[in-house]
């Protein structure tokens, strides 16, 4: 058998390197996407986990404040609570190392003494550092950095480190270095330590703490301690186990991963078609050899084994290549994921990929499955071939024709199932059924492909005949007759196109929605925010600056915003307190229903709140319901006056009036950003320059114009979707492979017919035109099917999958320009793909191909 294989298969693979490679690439892409996404997600997760667990250390419980933390006096309360064995206070800041370093840093203010039981910080000992460690502990402005960070930036002991924190530019002195162990490993070493007193002083947080980590007495029930502490602490201070934080992130990464995994499965789906093509090609190419083998007594199962073996080899090689490609993809995806996590939860830096053998297995396994599945039908066909049939093509063709009704029926049933799935609610907040529906739709359309080809072909036949005369007629007829090959190619191109079109529609609709939203919502002329604005940055603007704004010439109104992350149940949301009087008059909030003026007035006068649509979906609360908001004064039940559209965060938002906020958060005096409305004749540049002049040296703020802010929002939007753009390109590449493969295959199978045509007087040009036309026709049919399929999928993406996983309202719009461009792309690609086979078609001599007749 092995010898047979070597003679039969290896020779073939070797002489058709190019084709084998194409096929291999197809499988590789599917595997790459799968492994890439999976690896990126698990790397992001493990880096996040490393960050969370190494930062939490041995802590069994954490007392966590929100926004500006909590009064330090609670430390004494917590330390003396029953069941608490040890406690340590922490202040946490996400800061930006000033350019040229320009990297995020997690700055921790700790009490090294009580921290000992929780975390193992290892300071590097050397002659140089001996006195410096004391300085680190006692000197204001002393900082410790990790070796890794210091080395990367060429920082030495006693060098200055400049950072942006909120609107402040702060300078620290590097006093000692940390080994990259324990908590210093978080963020891949982008960790800075300062003494807790230094932290309070430098960041203007005197008397406040962000967190207290706890160890419990042995034989103490964690639950009891949590309950006791909750009674002792204000409502806006949470008590939780460190891994609870992990759980929330896991959910987010899961959603992210699921979305992308679905895409990778689509790529593998396309891979099935590719393998089918390749093996079918191999079978047809060697029909004569098969016949010979059968005549010589080779068993059917041996023939089957030969072809399946080939498919498996291709699958395996593709899988190996895919692993490599996947790692490249993972690197890209990881960056995007780390960014998302950083924006929403906790500053993370993910650079290292954690590659698990399991993931590789999971990735290559389906590839082999795909190879087997794709190879099975043509291999069976080959093994069933009777020696005499091997010289003749017609039999199987007829068989498929007869079954078209059945195949279409299956397709219809699958589509109906898909519809049913699309109507199901989410599972655990994940749109599992939505994704199942997407697959069913893709599969259903694939089953419907043969019937659709016949249908479209019939409609188009007269047109083609009229336009392209005889060649057109022939092309259309050939396509109809070679349905078992062409339908597969068309289905594969259709799938790729459907993916491309649906995702394009989703992104473009979403983008259009966001564009409209930003135009409505960004109404002020100038926005001012702290320069060091990174995740969870809680710094405010200099109060002197904010106070001076109303007096600036050209300023009509000032809207001050205080933003604080809060937790409502298990949902992390942003609380925006703003001057609604100003917003009511000059700005806008896009409410989903009700008069916006009326809603804002109720918020202002009756202390009600508005919540974003995302939050409304997450909490299942709507207009007129009450929402429970944890504040330093206790949990407040506030009436929801309105629900507004917002596309800024996945977690949702609450808007209340400044007066309401000050009532419940009397100690928070920050303004985290400010919007200025100018006189119609004022020059924004002039005002901007004036604000700059009023700033101290040590203050750093962003002053953004209306236009710049809108542009920035769209830039972030595009960045977020950059991975998807990459996937779209992959989809197109896969699809083009499909066309080239199929056409070459079709031409090969048709050698004899072409010989006959040429024998009866067809010119080379006519034969070539006919082949290219057929290619174009396939492309067109795929496009039509792909568009219908894509639109259905996009509806599913927007109204089921998006709604269930994010809850955004996206205005559905089909961008005709995009469809037009795709059509042109498909036609050009398929015509180009037809050229090589067309050449091949006329390259053989009539006598040679007719020899066997």
């Amino acid at each position: 058998m092995l010898r047979l294989w070597r003679w039969f298969s290896f020779r073939h693979l070797r002489s058709y390197k190019g084709r084998a490679l194409l096929c291999l690439l197809g499988v590789a892409l599917g595997v790459a996407v799968f492994i890439g996404i999976k690896t990126a997600a698990s790397s992001a997760m493990s880096s996040f986990q490393a960050t969370v667990t190494s930062l939490a250390g041995t802590a069994e419980l954490q007392v966590i404040g929100q926004g500006t933390g909590f009064p330090e006096g609670l430390y004494a309360t917590v330390v003396s609570a029953d069941g608490v064995r040890a406690a340590t206070p922490v202040l946490e800041f996400n800061v930006l190392a000033a350019p040229p370093l320009d990297e995020p840093l997690l700055m921790l203010g700790i009490d090294v003494f009580s921290d000992q039981e929780f975390r193992q910080y290892q300071f590097i000992e050397s002659e140089q550092t001996s006195g410096a460690i004391l300085s680190f502990l006692t000197e204001p402005g002393a900082v410790a950095l990790t070796e890794k960070f210091a080395e990367r930036h060429g920082l030495n002991l006693n060098d200055q480190l400049e950072i942006f924190a909120g609107s402040k530019r702060l300078t620290f002195t590097l006093r000692t270095l940390l080994k990259l162990k324990g908590p210093a490993r978080a963020l891949e070493g982008n960790v800075a330590l300062v003494d807790i007193a230094t932290a309070q002083e430098a960041f203007d947080r005197i008397g406040r703490l962000d967190r207290i980590d706890l160890l419990l007495e042995e034989k103490t029930s964690t639950k009891m301690v949590v309950e006791d502490l909750r009674k002792l602490l204000p409502a806006d201070v949470r008590v939780e186990e460190p891994n609870q934080r992990l759980g929330r992130i896991q959910e987010m990464v899961d959603a992210y991963r699921l979305n992308l995994l679905a895409l990778s499965l689509i790529a593998l789906f396309v891979g099935i078609f590719l393998i089918f093509n390749a093996v079918a090609f191999a079978v047809s190419k060697r029909r004569f050899e098969i016949a010979m083998l059968r005549v010589l007594g080779t068993q059917r199962w041996q023939i089957l084994g030969l072809f399946l073996g080939e498919a498996l080899i291709v699958g395996l090689l593709g899988a190996i290549l895919g692993v490599g490609l996947g790692l490249v993809m993972a690197k890209l995806a990881l960056k995007a994921m780390a960014q998302t996590i950083s924006e929403l939860y906790l500053l993370v830096r993910a650079e290292t990929l954690t590659l698990s053998p399991l993931v590789i297995l999971l990735g290559t396994g389906p590839a082999l499955g795909v190879a087997l599945l794709g190879g099975l039908v043509p291999s069976l066909e080959a093994s069933r071939t009777l020696p005499k049939e091997a010289l003749y093509r017609g039999t199987l063709e007829r068989r498929l024709h007869m079954n078209i009704g059945k195949v279409s029926l299956v397709g219809g049933v699958v589509l109906a199932l898909g519809y049913l799935c699309s109507q199901q609610p989410p599972v655990d907040g994940l749109p599992i059924f939505g994704f199942v529906a997407a697959f069913l739709i893709l599969a259903g359309f694939s089953f419907l492909a043969p019937a659709s080809v016949l249908l479209v072909n019939r409609v188009l036949a007269p047109v083609l005949a009229r336009t392209f005369k005889l060649e057109g007629q022939m092309a259309s007829r050939y396509l109809g007759r070679s349905l078992n090959r062409s339908a597969v190619a068309i289905a594969s191109l259709m799938t790729a196109l459907a993916m491309l079109i649906s995702i394009s529609i989703l992104i473009l609709s979403f983008r259009q929605t966001v564009v409209v939203w930003t135009e409505q919502i960004i109404a002020a002329d100038i926005y001012i925010s702290p320069a060091g604005r990174i995740t969870g940055q809680r710094g405010g603007l200099p109060s002197k600056l904010v106070d001076s704004l109303p007096q600036l010439p050209g300023v009509t109104a000032v809207e001050r915003l205080t933003e604080t992350p809060i937790r409502i149940g298990e949902v992390v949301a942003l609380l925006d307190a703003t001057d609604l009087v100003v917003k009511e008059k000059f700005g806008r909030i896009m409410y989903r229903r009700g008069s916006s003026r009326d809603i804002m007035r109720r918020c202002r006068e009756q202390g009600q709140v508005s919540i974003s649509e995302v939050l409304s979906n997450r909490l299942g609360l709507g207009e007129g319901d009450t929402i429970e908001i944890p504040t330093p004064k206790g949990v407040e039940s506030l009436v929801i006056a309105g629900v507004f559209y917002d596309y800024r965060t996945e977690g949702g938002m609450v808007i209340m009036d400044q007066s309401t906020y000050r009532r419940y958060w009397p100690e928070d005096r920050r303004y985290t950003s400010v919007a200025l409305y100018l006189d119609s004749n004022a020059d924004p540049e002039e005002v901007r320059a004036q604000i700059r002049r009023n700033l101290d040296q040590s203050q750093e703020v962003f002053i953004t114009s209306n236009r710049e802010l809108r542009r920035e929002i769209l830039r972030i939007f595009d960045q977020t979707f950059s991975i998807t753009y990459a996937l779209q390109i992959i989809a197109i590449v896969v699809a083009i492979f499909g066309i080239v493969n199929t056409l070459i295959l079709l031409v090969r199978e048709r050698e004899r017919d072409i010989g006959v045509l040429k024998a009866v007087g067809a010119t080379n040009r006519q034969v070539q035109r006919m082949t290219v036309l057929e290619a174009g026709l396939m492309g067109f049919i795929s496009f039509v099917l792909g568009t219908v399929n894509g639109i259905l999928l996009s509806l599913l993406l927007i109204f089921v999958i998006n709604k269930q996983s994010f809850g955004w309202t996206i205005q559905f719009s089909i961008p005709p320009g995009m469809l037009g461009k795709t059509l042109i792309l498909v036609l050009v690609c398929s015509v180009l793909a037809g050229i090589a086979p067309a050449r091949a078609a006329v390259s053989k001599k009539v006598s040679e191909v007719m020899r066997l007749e």
């Binding site: 004494a76 009490d111 009580s114 000992e125 006195g131 004391l134 006692t138």
Partner: protein, 384 residues
């Protein structure tokens, strides 16, 4: 054989009682003890001759000095004559002079440590606990106007004429009232207990050599009524040690005839006893005598090897004051009374209850004592 000869070369590294404390500060974090001893001593007051003690005021804290501790050791007896030893020590170490004031209440000025040990002499077991705190938000502190030192709920303070001690929890804790039965004895000469050659290399050091103890001992879940006798040391200074000094053997002896003896031997790097080593003999009537090194002899009888830390300590001593006709043997009540402090100091030292027997002025005599051995831990620090 004198103690000086007994110090082996491999034991050359170590600490005085003073350094236990100083090293607490930094070694606990970075193994870089005494880095601060070199700098800034001038900003603290030094221990100079002429200091006049005033009681009870001098029981309270002396923040103008860098380092200060209150050391209680004692012997307790519960019902049925069950014997316990206890040690409770509060340390204060200033990392920077009090001025200038900083805004944050977490600003690190002083570090506070407590070491707390119980020896169950019947069971032959020993346990210790430790705490460390920067004293932010008054979770630890030492008041200077009135005697009160505390670290996270463990405390020592004066009340009327007595000292109140409280430390530990249910499984191991004490709540004791100590009443001095003799006046305070000031060690050294002219108010200074010299620790090395040179001005300022010393401390102000006094002891309450005989205190009556009564109160509660929490031990392994049961609460025991106890009474017994205790010894208190209080010492403060700023810059006492020289670089060539590596360790310290300290002895306190309470004889049954109400005579007490305190001796300390400072070991130099080459193994010699430092000439500043000295002691004090306290007579039953409270009168005391300074004992320079040449007046006493200390001989090691045996040694004990700690499996926990790998350190070998002397174990069992013969103390002689030939001119006073005093010759006693000190035998540890339990061999293992080693504190391997992981949290506050990273320093290993031996501090334990001993039983005393021998002759004084030709008569057989017995008593109780406490011994402290520092600087035997080779794993600690290579050099200053």
């Amino acid at each position: 054989m004198s103690v000086a000869q007994n110090v082996q070369p491999h034991q050359r590294l170590g600490w005085l009682r003073w350094t236990v404390l100083a090293s607490l500060v930094l070694s606990l974090l970075f193994g870089l003890a005494l880095a601060n001893a070199r700098q800034g001593a001038e900003t603290f007051r030094r221990a100079l001759p002429g200091y006049v003690f005033q009681f009870p005021q001098d029981h309270a804290a002396h923040p103008e000095f860098r380092t200060e501790w209150w050391y209680y050791t004692g012997h307790l007896i519960a019902a049925k004559g069950r014997r316990f030893g206890f040690q409770l020590t509060f340390f204060r170490h200033a990392l920077r002079p009090p001025a200038p004031e900083r805004k944050s209440r977490w600003a690190l000025n002083n570090l506070y440590f407590v070491h707390f040990a119980i020896t169950d002499e019947e069971e032959g077991t020993f346990r210790f606990q430790e705490k460390v705190s920067r004293g932010a938000l008054d979770t630890a502190g030492a008041r200077s106007e009135q005697y009160h030192v505390w670290v996270e709920g463990w405390e020592a303070r004066s009340q009327d004429n007595s000292h109140k001690l409280r430390a530990g929890k249910e499984d191991m804790g004490i709540d004791l009232t100590l009443v001095p039965t003799k006046t305070a004895v000031v060690h050294g000469k002219d108010g200074v207990s010299q620790k090395a050659v040179g001005e300022g290399y010393g401390s102000h050091y006094y002891s309450l050599t005989r205190m009556h103890a009564r109160g509660k001992l929490q031990w392994r879940g049961s609460s025991l009524e106890v009474s017994g006798q205790a010894w208190m040391d209080h010492e403060f200074g700023s810059n006492q040690l020289r670089e060539y000094q590596v360790g310290w053997d300290w002895f306190s002896v309470q004889l049954n005839d109400r005579t007490e003896l305190m001796l300390y031997i400072i070991r130099q790097r080459e193994g010699r006893a430092d000439p500043s080593s000295s002691g004090t003999l306290v007579h039953p009537d409270g009168a005391s005598e300074h004992l320079p090194l040449e007046k006493f002899k200390v001989e090691t009888l045996s040694s004990w090897h700690s499996k926990k830390s790998g350190t070998t300590y002397p174990s069992g001593w013969r103390l002689r004051l030939p001119s006073k006709q005093l010759d006693v043997r000190l035998i540890p009540a339990v061999e293992d009374q080693e504190l391997t402090t992981k949290k506050s100091t990273l320093v290993n030292y031996w501090e334990g209850s001993v039983r005393v027997t021998g002759n004084y002025r030709g008569k057989a005599i017995s008593g109780l004592g406490y011994v402290e051995l520092t600087g035997y831990d080779t794993a600690f620090r290579p050099d200053i």
